[in-house]
Amino acid sequence: MRVFADTDELVNRLEHAGYITEQGLAVSLMLMSQLQRPLLVEGDAGVGKTEIAKALAAAYECELIRLQCYEGLDVNAAVYEWNYQRQLLAIKLQETEKSSLAEKERHVFSEGYLLQRPLLQAISRPQPPVLLIDEVDRADEEFEAYLLEVLSDYQISIPELGTIKATSIPHVVLTSNGTRELSDALRRRCLYFYLDYPSYDKELRIVLARVPQIEERLAGQIVAFVQKLRGEDLQKRPGTAETLDWAAALVKMRIRSLDTNPDFLAQTLVCLLKTREDRAAMPPSVTARLLAQSV
């Protein structure tokens, strides 16, 4: 686990891990460990919310534990569960032993029979890991309330075992897509960062960093085109992930410049436009206009 002297160093380390970012986010990430608060990241799909946690784990050189939320996520899947089968086997094996009932019970409800799920894992590591709670807005309200409790006290109580206190405080990153309104309490508990679509310069740097074989001229054209495309009325605007896909595809197909073969290029737009309606909304005439503007 590394400690960073200032934000510049953190930015550099993140960049080293393949995540291009600006100082603003780095300040938030620094404060996260200084103030021991989780960081809630919001923004449209594909702007790189989840990547923050991965890059942070790489920068801190620590483990990444991920909890993917979904509707109906419960304590058993997120925190802990008893290994029922093993417990039953143990009971059967102990049948002939002479130990008292209380001892037997203590035995089967000991830590050896506990299955750790992400939240419990995250607070019981010797080195603080990065805990990514992805798409927290998909989980139910009751789970959110439970999460808030864990994130404030960093302890988990298991009725049969007692309270387990954190051996290290994880760096917690939560992401949300706005499927559901999160509670005020959770929002207040967290530091906040709104991740917007990257600017031209930033996105260009991202493409150059993540698609190494690309030529700078083509990268510039690609980014300009995608930035224009985001201004159109689309159901799902292409995120950075889509830009990278498209750039990689074009490099694979040995295209050197966007204006060489517009018809063929229109076919590759499947990398950017992911719904049928969006495809229909971008007829060749429109894409040709955008292309002309970005070359």
Binding site: L31, L88, E142, G178
Partner: protein, 392 residues
């Protein structure tokens, strides 16, 4: 102020910011709170800590740090820079005695003196939370708005508040429904009979535990809204309501019709508030050429019903029932829909008026096949729908 590495969080050994700066920061926190940021005492303390953590030689770092700490949703995020600049970069910032008397927003709107606004925030209410005031006003206004007809809402400035409540209403419905559902099915119980049966293959050891399955019982909803000319004072609000419902319930689809049927579920999922408003206004504007309820329902039955409507589906038709098509066709299509669905509810905004009777030919033909024919002209009547859904 501090370039040193700061390994230990919340350490008392850290450089404390000068008292003057700390005071200014606390005051700034009060300013953003007055502007409806969700911040409390802990945030004030941490805000002072932020100043100790970041590199104060770089003024942007304090801005970014406080932004991350004090904001908690995209709206805050957009407002923050403006507030920060107002507070920290006012002329002669050091010399001026700053009093946090109320939000900048309120001060501005107070100055514009909207006629229906209550007493503008006075400079003297330092000690008392200005939001209290706003909340109280909201509550009393809300009562009035709940009962007033949507068509009247357009005449005054209540529209915005009304829109938000309509959307919230749907979320509240979901919360209440879920809670009922959970109370009914709290805890998963072991299915003893099946567990014992399964244990036979393990020599009587109940190795595999089987549980009573919980059934998800959230209703599935389909909303079909009339956006013809005669409905245009209402349709905008119903589209907002439809959006709230779509947001809150997973299995929901929305359609609009005038002379033909148009699916709008995806359109209503639009996240960008501004674009949504444009789209809704555009859909709700209505088109000329009469209303063909019967044919639209026929199209629904033919193309969508098989996929969307089953025995747990509740279909809402929102229309005033003024049909330019054949009444017999409408009656027949409603009857077919009724056979497939759990429930067919017709919400008629006109029913809220005293002088209205459902005498139009189409309405008469549809009536015998409806589970419920209810008014939907104000918030109160929409709230009643929830009770309907609860009787599942």
């Amino acid at each position: 102020m501090t370039d040193a590495p700061l390994p230990a969080p919340r350490a008392s050994a850290r450089t404390e910011p000068a008292p003057l700066l700390a005071g200014r920061i606390v005051e700034f926190v009060r300013l953003v709170r007055a502007n409806h940021f969700r911040v409390g005492v802990q945030e004030s303390l941490d805000a002072v800590n932020v100043a100790a953590c970041v590199n104060m030689a770089d003024q942007r770092q304090l801005r970014w740090g406080l932004r991350s700490l004090l904001c908690s949703d995209p709206a805050d995020w957009r407002n923050f820079d403006r507030l920060f600049d107002r507070y920290w970069q006012r002329p002669n910032a050091a010399a001026v005695e700053v009093t946090v008397s109320g939000s900048i927003d309120r001060a501005e709107s107070g100055a514009r003196a909207a006629p229906d606004r209550p007493t503008p925030p006075s400079e003297a209410n330092e000690g008392e939370d200005p939001r209290q005031d706003a909340l109280r006003v909201g509550a009393s206004r809300r009562d009035a708005i709940t009962r007033s007809d949507f068509r009247l809402a357009q005449l005054n400035q209540d529209t915005h508040a009304l829109e938000q409540w309509i959307e919230q209403l749907a979320r509240r419905m979901r919360k209440r429904l879920l809670r009922r559902h959970q109370i009914r099915s709290a805890g998963s119980r072991i299915h003893l009979r099946r567990t014992v049966r399964r244990s036979l293959s393990h020599g009587g050891l109940p190795l595999e535990l089987l549980f009573h399955e919980r059934r998800r019982e959230l209703p599935r909803l389909v909303l079909i809204t009339d956006v013809s000319r005669s409905m245009n004072v209402y349709s905008y609000f119903f589209l907002r309501f439809a959006r709230g419902i779509i947001d809150a319930f997973r299995d929901t689809d929305a359609f609009v019709f005038h002379t033909r049927l148009v699916p709008v579920t995806d359109t209503l999922r639009e996240r960008d508030a501004h674009r949504l408003k444009e789209k809704l206004a555009w859909i709700a504007a209505g088109w000329g050429g009469g209303t063909r309820i019967g044919e639209s329902l026929q199209a629904f039955n033919r193309e969508h019903a098989r996929r969307l409507v089953d025995s747990r589906t509740c279909v809402f038709i929102v229309s005033d029932g003024y049909d330019t098509g054949e009444p017999a066709l409408l009656g027949e299509e409603v009857r077919r829909l009724r056979r497939r669905a759990r429930r067919v509810v017709w919400l008629n905004p006109l029913l809220g008026r005293d002088d209205y009777a459902p005498t139009a030919g189409g309405m008469q033909a549809a009536l015998p096949h409806l589970d419920l024919f209810a008014p939907a002209h104000n918030l109160e009547s929409l709230m009643k729908i929830e009770h309907l859904l609860a009787r599942w």
